[in-house]
């Protein structure tokens, strides 16, 4: 055996390899984001035993099933409230929410903004492929105007959410956007989110060649990656009101928000201490309900 045989793909230790190959289509970007996630975990030296990952439903929701972590594939849109309960009951956990744009911003949109408002200590990774992919390419609240989808066959006309702007307004302490082309920047953003306490939101623009690009005659996954390379503009600190996406236009990427404010559990503790004094009994690190 030479040294080479002992090397492994850095992502490998984080995967349930017995479930490979995964279900994602050729040219889908979700797997690429998982590579960045694995690098961020390595770099951040996160204790994998106390890391939990929560997903909702959809293509990105399947991430939970592929990572070798305590991982929860919940119901559609409810990854964030599930993660909230996990974090509240067991504050020593580092909790990541990994889900798609439809899951987080449409059916789960209310939870998204309220968790940001409360500043729950969650790291939210939103893989935004601009479409409902798993169900066959329906319009999402992120689908840019004029794009053709299966439910807007003559072109979308609803205005789309600008997610960084939404999360900025709702109070997230960290908001960044990258594309699947920006694998190293994405890994760094994830590492930065791990270092922060509070609600972090990272949007990753990602190709869905099967249902978004194909229907809009935008080529395949690789063509989309080239588009990301050509049309992305790094603007750290850009006002989030100015980073909305268009069908073929520029994609503003970068770190838009990085600020500090007390997270939910710190505020809760402070309030109880102030109001209850010695009567306040802090919840034990892990609740013991076992014999």
């Amino acid at each position: 055996m030479n040294a080479l045989d002992q090397t492994v793909n850095p992502v490998e230790p984080f995967l349930r390899t017995d479930r490979m190959p995964h279900i994602w289509c050729p040219g889908c970007g979700i797997g690429t984001t998982v590579n960045s996630f694995a690098r961020a975990l390595i770099e951040s030296k996160v204790d994998l035993d106390t890391l939990a990952l929560v997903s909702g439903i959809g293509c990105t929701g399947r991430v939970a099933g592929y990572v070798k972590l305590d991982s929860f594939h919940t119901t559609h849109g409810r990854a964030i409230p599930f993660a909230t309960g996990l974090k509240m009951a067991n504050p020593k956990l580092s909790v990541v929410v990994y889900s798609g744009d439809g899951d987080l911003a449409a059916i789960g949109g209310n939870h998204l903004i309220h968790a940001a408002r409360r500043n729950i200590d969650l790291k939210v990774i939103c893989v935004n492929n601009l479409i409902y992919a798993m169900t066959g390419g329906q319009s999402a609240p992120t689908t840019p105007g004029h794009a053709t989808t299966s439910t807007n066959p003559y072109g979308t006309f609803e205005p789309a959410f600008n997610l960084p702007h939404l999360l900025d307004a709702a109070g997230a302490v960290y908001v960044a956007r990258w594309t699947t082309f920006h694998v190293r920047q994405l890994a760094r953003a994830m590492s930065e989110a791990f270092a922060k306490r509070g609600f972090s939101f990272i949007e990753v623009i990602s190709p869905c060649p099967t249902l978004y690009q194909r229907r809009n005659k935008m080529g395949d996954g690789l063509d989309t990656m080239k588009y990301y390379k050509d049309k992305s503009k790094v603007k750290h600190g850009a006002p989030t009101s100015e980073v909305g996406l268009t069908l073929n236009g520029e994609i503003v990427v970068g770190k838009f928000v990085d600020r500090d404010r007390p997270d939910y559990q710190s505020m809760m503790r402070a309030q109880y201490v102030e109001s209850l004094g010695e009567r306040y009994i802090e919840a034990p690190e892990t609740e013991c309900v076992c014999d």
Partner: protein, 94 residues
């Protein structure tokens, strides 16, 4: 199956690429974004009918692992070769 490819030819490779052929779905990300153009899609098929990449310029591999970071199928990665010889070769950095 993991295929390991080593440096050949005049240049001395600084890295090595490993490919899990059966996981590959031939998206081409690794081929396109390899900074030193080490890879090409092969004409061979894997069992799912995809053309996995193969190494056409092993000597150029810098071991930067960008291929590994891009691969959505966890099917390829590169490692740096540990023992650098005295003379530097032309392998590009990321």
């Amino acid at each position: 199956m993991i295929v390991l490819l080593h440096g050949l030819g005049d240049q001395v490779a600084k890295g090595r690429v490993s490919i899990v052929v059966e996981r590959c779905k031939a998206c081409g990300f690794c081929v396109e974004f390899c900074p030193t153009h080490v890879l090409a899609l092969s004409s061979a098929f894997n069992s799912k009918g995809y053309h996995p990449p193969h190494v056409v310029h092993p000597e150029k591999c810098s071991g930067c692992d960008l291929c590994g970071m891009y691969c959505p199928d966890f099917a390829i990665y590169a490692t740096k070769i540990a023992e650098p010889k005295a003379q530097k070769t032309a392998g590009g950095d990321e």
